[in-house]
């Protein structure tokens, strides 16, 4: 088992390295650069631009620049943002916290809603409740995220039920501690609602089908025969046996903590990583884009790795290498 873990870890590190190389090469082979717009200005001489490029090391050879960049990653700077004239990590710290807050709340709500929904709709298969849940799930899975975001935003703006735009109200600094928390919570409602609507259906659909499969297994029949029923049967016996796909999905939602809300953040004006990355893309501030992509990839790898660990802990079939492991 230790060998298995070591192999997974080595693969994860290798993958991260490959992602960094790919991102770096992609952005550095790009025809444009940050100074393209300046070059159009006749008042700025080519010498000035050359000096600027030399200062930011844009005229060095590719391997050298990659080495420099790796060095700055090792120092924890993650490259240098030309637009803001500061190391990227300093730029990303506060937005990353905001995104993490949004993602954390979303993830918690998603799982709290979808697990009981999935288990009960599988338990009462073909009932009105189950049909309703399935219909809603199919609908929300197929509606694109951008439409959900714009639609809910339109509702929020028109009804004045939810505050939209930003994370805090105007007089935020004067509020007491509790007022601050509730202000942020109210601003969070719209983006969280959109993200929960996007995330929940996927979990419900997968978990429902796997619970359904287990409910037809002989051991459930046997448990019923022994007089175990109701919630105890569902949550103590059926759910653990049906948890494997859900654990993989949990890994994915862990991975999406930082990256899953990009579009919604931009649409609702949440000051997280999304708007930062979009602005950096439009300004060709490439180090920021690369650092964000790296961060997202790292989260994805960590999430998958965590899912593997959890699967290992939860499922004895995987631990023993049994062939009927799911």
């Amino acid at each position: 088992m230790k060998a298995y873990l070591a192999r997974r870890l080595a693969r994860a590190v290798l993958l991260l390295f490959a992602v960094s190389l790919l991102c770096f090469l992609l952005t550095r082979l790009a025809p444009g650069s940050f100074f393209d717009d300046i070059r159009l200005n006749p008042q700025i001489s080519p010498q000035t631009i050359a000096t600027l490029q030399a200062r930011y090391g844009l005229n060095q050879s590719l391997p050298l620049r990659y080495a420099h960049w790796l060095g700055s990653v090792a120092r924890g700077d993650f490259g240098f943002s030309i637009a803001y004239n500061t190391p990227v990590s300093r730029l990303m710290w506060a937005p990353a916290e905001h995104t993490l807050l949004l993602g954390g709340v979303t993830m918690l709500l998603c799982w709290l809603i979808s697990v009981p929904l999935a288990v009960w709709s599988a338990r009462y298969e073909r009932s009105l409740f189950d049909r309703g849940v399935s219909a809603l799930t199919s609908l929300f899975i197929s509606v694109p995220e951008i439409v959900l975001a714009v639609g809910l935003l339109a509702f929020a703006v028109r009804s004045h039920a939810l505050p939209v735009g930003g994370m805090t109200s105007v007089g935020f600094d004067e509020l007491p501690a509790w007022g601050k928390a509730s202000d942020i919570a109210r601003h969070m409602l719209a983006p969280v609602a959109i993200l929960v609507l996007v995330g929940t259906p996927v979990i419900v659909r997968h978990l429902r089908s796997s619970v359904l499969e287990v409910l037809h297994a002989p051991f459930v029949e046997a448990a019923r025969g022994c007089g175990i029923g109701g919630a105890r049967l569902l949550f103590r016996h059926v759910l653990p046996a049906a948890a494997n796909p859900a654990i993989s999905l949990f890994g994915l939602s862990l991975a999406a903590l930082l990256s899953g809300s990009l579009l919604v953040e931009v649409v609702t004006g949440w000051p997280g990583l999304g708007p930062l990355i979009l602005d950096a893309t439009l300004a060709r501030d490439l180090d920021v884009v690369v650092a964000a992509a790296m961060l997202a990839a790292a989260m994805m790898i960590v999430g998958n790795f965590a899912a593997d660990l959890l699967l290992l802990a939860a499922d004895p079939r995987i631990r023993t290498g049994s062939p009927d492991a799911v």
Partner: protein, 336 residues
């Protein structure tokens, strides 16, 4: 037989839907970029079938606030069918025939107009043509790539398989929107309309191949060991023959299902990209850049008809998902 019964309905709806956008020039009353600066944000007109002489079959288009003003005669005007208007070209033919229109100084706007007084219905139709074309072409690109790489990995196996699945994993670990932005960031921002179109197709298409590739690899891997393939190999069939005659046909179902799943995703990806101002740019319409005006909250509050591209996106997505579900069910029942 089962295939046809389960799948004809969503497929027929989709064919009609696409056909409508293909005939955008005929259905749209105005050119998509034609402006009328005097009529910004005109609300959708409504139709009357009752005039001063009682009921008539010809619909009369009325300006939205006409009823409130109480002067119906002056602001209602007859809608004519199969009229001649602006020139458009369709499949190499030039024509100026349109399904409907109103006498010249008047303008009809079934879905209202946008900030420049451009007809929303016309923009929706022409924008849909571009958005759907991007979705279809990007799907074609990524499925061709997935087919090539997946077949190679599954059929050749060994180190080729290791290398290619590793490469696919690389594309799966970076979230697609991040990848889309990173890839878009490296390419020039300001380009001509057709170059942007190809660029968006390329960017989206080159990112989506990893997941179908894994599925195709799986199918090829199991197909390679099937008895009839082994038998054919035993009779001395060359690899190319085996792939073409025996293995490629087995991937058909997976390819179809993946196409039905990928097309709406890619149409939505185009919408997101153009919404951010990184995709198709004005004055060429696409559903994404039509939605971009909604970033201003004032538009979102006051002009509900600006949300119509979102409805078109939902219709596209829901119908394709319906088709994909039917295809998946058919695939499951036919593979057992």
């Amino acid at each position: 037989m089962r295939f046809r019964r389960a799948i004809w309905l969503p497929a027929a709806v989709l064919v009609l839907w696409h056909l409508g956008f293909l005939c955008a020039g005929f259905l749209a009353p105005y050119a998509p970029a034609e402006q009328d600066r005097d009529l910004p944000y005109t609300p959708p007109s409504h139709f009357e079938f009752r005039g001063p002489q009682g009921f008539h079959f010809r619909p009369y288009a009325c300006e939205a606030d006409a009823a409130a003003a109480g002067n119906q005669q002056s602001s209602c005007y007859p809608v004519h069918f199969l009229v001649h208007g602006w020139q458009y070209s369709f499949a190499g033919l030039r024509s100026d025939l349109h399904l409907f229109g109103v006498p010249a100084p008047r303008r009809i706007s079934i879905l209202g107009t946008d900030a420049y007084g451009r007809d929303m219905l016309s923009r929706l139709l022409f924008g849909g043509r571009i958005s759907l074309a991007i979705g279809l072409l990007a799907t074609l690109v990524s499925l061709v790539v997935a087919m090539l790489i997946g077949t190679l990995a599954g059929y050749h196996g060994k180190w080729t398989d290791e290398l290619l699945t590793g490469g696919a994993e690389l594309f799966l670990v970076v979230p697609w929107l991040y990848f889309l932005l990173a890839l878009r960031a490296m390419l020039p921002l300001h380009l001509s309309a057709s170059a942007t179109f190809l660029l968006v197709v390329g960017v989206i298409g080159s990112l989506g191949w990893a997941r179908p590739m894994r599925l195709i690899r799986g199918v090829v891997l199991s197909a390679r060991e099937r008895n009839f393939v082994l038998a054919a190999r035993g009779f001395g069939a060359p690899d190319v023959y085996l792939l073409r005659r025996h293995i490629a046909p087995m991937t058909g179902g997976v390819l179809l299902t993946q196409a039905a799943l990928l097309i709406p995703q890619f149409v939505a990806a185009e919408a997101a990209l153009s919404f951010f101002g990184l995709g198709v740019s004005e004055p060429v319409p696409s559903w994404g850049n039509m939605l971009a005006v909604l970033q201003q909250y004032s538009v979102l509050v006051s002009y509900w008809w600006m949300l119509t591209p979102a409805i078109a996106l939902v219709v596209t997505s829901v119908t394709y998902c319906w088709l994909a579900e039917r295809l998946q069910r058919w695939l499951k029942s036919s593979s057992i």
